[in-house]
Symmetry: C2
Subunit: 199 residues, 2 copies
């Protein structure tokens, strides 16, 4: 946009790194921050730079936190017996909504040799140590149902064989409210293969 | 969210000042900034704090810029004869898309006695001075078609009476592609009253 000043243009461009924000919305955000809510913008700058400086990984589950341990690992009321393995922090939040009361382990990715992501990057040694040391009875594999996600789960399952823990995988099938007609073939095949006795 | 660390929660809250960003999207943005694009996040902090420090108002049209004059006022190729009065910088960008090649004057608001916004806050003295000094031949009033926007236009029209400039108002009517059936009564009344000979 030649009609915006260079510095504002640069701000617009910096805002397009946000997911779901294209050039047009970035423009709207930039003008809002500079024109309508400067105090909010100052606060955002402060919080974001503080968070970038201080937030690291939980020593136990690897989730994002500015403390040594995240609030979930710190919560004595939760059970150590179930450990749910997910790929990202956002997935922890998603599973939290189900009322799950166990612990988590966040991989921050999935095995992907082509991108140079091997077991060490996902902290799988640390995962194994957690399972052995913390009295985990069930490891719930909740990686995404993609090729790499499935491969990651398989790898973890093999790694933990012999550790005397139950290893489970979350169910894949037709989503509630989903109509069979609109469900893709792969999901439907999973749903059929995973059928259970009607009770 | 008890499952997010306090600092991340504060960042989420700071992000909800963005227009169109609710708690859920703010969470997604926060995790994206901290987890997936830290370099982009650092860049955003830098640009936003720089813009907050340096961006002020163009001396001529009051639009946002970090320089003395904005790129539009600085552009010698544009005509001084037409001056378009708008409420916000975003509206400058909207009108730029029509190919308008005149100048602008940005009010940064509209007359609203109840909010304590009078003529001096909108820089109307400065507007008058521009009109007189810069050889403006036509002032195009493009304030929004709200009660305050209309009142603001009316005020400006009265203020400029006797300055020997043509004062026009952008047309209001049925939008292109709009179906009469779905257009509100006020707009339709405007469209009827503003009818023109068919040529």
């Amino acid at each position: 946009m030649a009609s915006l000043s260079p510095l504002i243009n640069e701000l617009v461009e910096a805002l397009t790194i946000l997911p779901g924000v294209g050039p047009k919305s970035a423009q709207r955000l930039a003008l809002h921050l500079l024109e309508k809510d400067q105090s909010g913008a100052h606060r955002l700058v402060g919080m974001l730079s503080k968070a970038l400086d201080e937030v690291g990984h939980c020593k136990k589950c690897r989730n994002l936190t500015e403390k040594e341990y995240c609030p979930i690992c710190d919560d004595a009321k939760r059970t150590d017996e179930q450990l749910c393995v997910v790929e990202t922090p956002a997935e922890v939040l998603a599973i939290e909504q189900t009322g799950f009361k166990g612990r988590y382990f966040v991989l921050f990715g999935r095995l992907s040799p082509i991108d140079g992501i091997g077991p060490e990057k996902l902290g799988l040694d640390q995962l194994k140590q957690q399972v052995v040391e913390n009295g985990v009875k069930e490891v719930i594999l909740a990686t995404n149902p993609t090729v790499e996600g499935q491969a990651t789960s398989q790898y973890i399952q093999q790694m933990l064989q012999g550790s005397n823990v139950l290893i489970t995988r979350i169910a894949h099938g037709v989503p509630l409210g989903g109509e069979l007609e609109y469900v893709d073939g792969g999901t439907l095949a999973h749903a059929l293969a995973g059928r259970k006795a009607f009770d």
